[in-house]
Symmetry: D2
Subunit: 126 residues, 4 copies
């Protein structure tokens, strides 16, 4: 079991994009911007580090709910499996961090949310 599980928090950086494959499976992609914060000893204040973007993939009903629920700027908490996708030719390989979401929601650190509406289709377990 070498899967790498991560939980990240940040903000939605682009509108969710939905895609349906020819076999009928559905995925919603979400671009999430995250910044780690650090204590700056010089200024004695908390400060933002560089912004890093993750591509978050949400399958099936989870993806449908995400497409309905998230807009640019929304705060988000997401957990799932980390994938580092490599692409490009040998000698010029590139990496893109990606998360295959198992759970995702609005992070209530930054506001409150009314009850979610069950959509009649439960996400397939597990």
């Amino acid at each position: 079991m070498n899967d790498i599980y991560i939980t990240l928090t940040g903000n939605v950086a682009a509108p969710p994009r939905q895609h349906t494959f020819t076999d009928g499976s559905r995925v919603t992609s979400l671009r999430v911007a995250t910044r780690h914060r650090f204590f700056d000893k010089k200024t004695q204040e908390w400060s933002d580090g560089e912004t890093v973007f993750f591509a978050v993939r949400c399958w099936r009903t989870l993806g449908d709910n995400v497409a309905q629920s998230f807009q640019v700027g929304h705060p988000v908490v997401v957990c799932g499996k980390l994938r580092i996708r490599e692409f490009g030719p040998d000698g010029d390989r590139r990496f893109m961090p990606e998360v295959e979401a198992s759970s995702i929601g609005h992070d209530l650190r930054w506001g409150w949310a009314p009850s979610p509406s069950p959509n009649g289709r439960a996400a397939s377990a597990p």
Copy 2:
């Protein structure tokens, strides 16, 4: 750094309880029921394991938002530090798993949610 970070998903099992200490600090406690699922080889179906309850503590503005947003039964995703609280006399020590939340939201696996309303008071960073 021996802190143990965990992310758990489950359902709210009791109404959020708010408490204000004499020094003015505020905390909201949430009881979350979680069940791990396992593949039952006999029935060839996914099945629920035992339910385990966690006490989730949310401080300050995060707690205020949680108190406004969560009701019994809501699906939840929460990340934070695991604390195993021990209590009771020697020879009869007991344990209670507790999570000090850093982020929390409605888990959209089970429904969709409208945008959260910023409440004017941002949770104190970090």
Copy 3:
């Protein structure tokens, strides 16, 4: 997927115990003491919190290696699934935090280690 993955670091608190079940499956149990550290504002020094004990279960070859490698006091880093075992009668339920290890090793924060010896039997993947 509601499994809760954790990584904990601490020290071995009791000799590893091996057990073979009637069906031939083998498990090694390890008791690990862990303390979170916190910055004490009064003394302006890092300080130890309460000690918490986890039961760590290692199956098959991983367990055999653990039994050969760990003694009381050794520093350890372990990752795996958290289980909160409940037991006792209604009205007097108790909890025991347990980790089903997927990977475990000596934590090199506190010393160095020579190469591990392959034991000829690879732990069954994954």
Copy 4:
């Protein structure tokens, strides 16, 4: 607190490299190859996905111990903070996944290890 904590397991892919900065601080860099495994429905067997490399940074005494303990091919379990380093000009940005290790050890899934030798200098807490 937006730090992203991860635990990864894999194998050492290059000899550890030590570096001392002009201010005296020491770091050891370790290249770790990791592959997630997946269940191939066609062949009905567990199979390896693509190999991904992480740069692991170990500071101070932890780094000294790592330099003494790890050789190419050794199995490793490491936990720490994930950093996605970006570099390159605008329009050609690249990413490199990096882990700032808080704990690291030989993963005993693949062999056993004798006791680590305390090196007289404890890694500075926390």
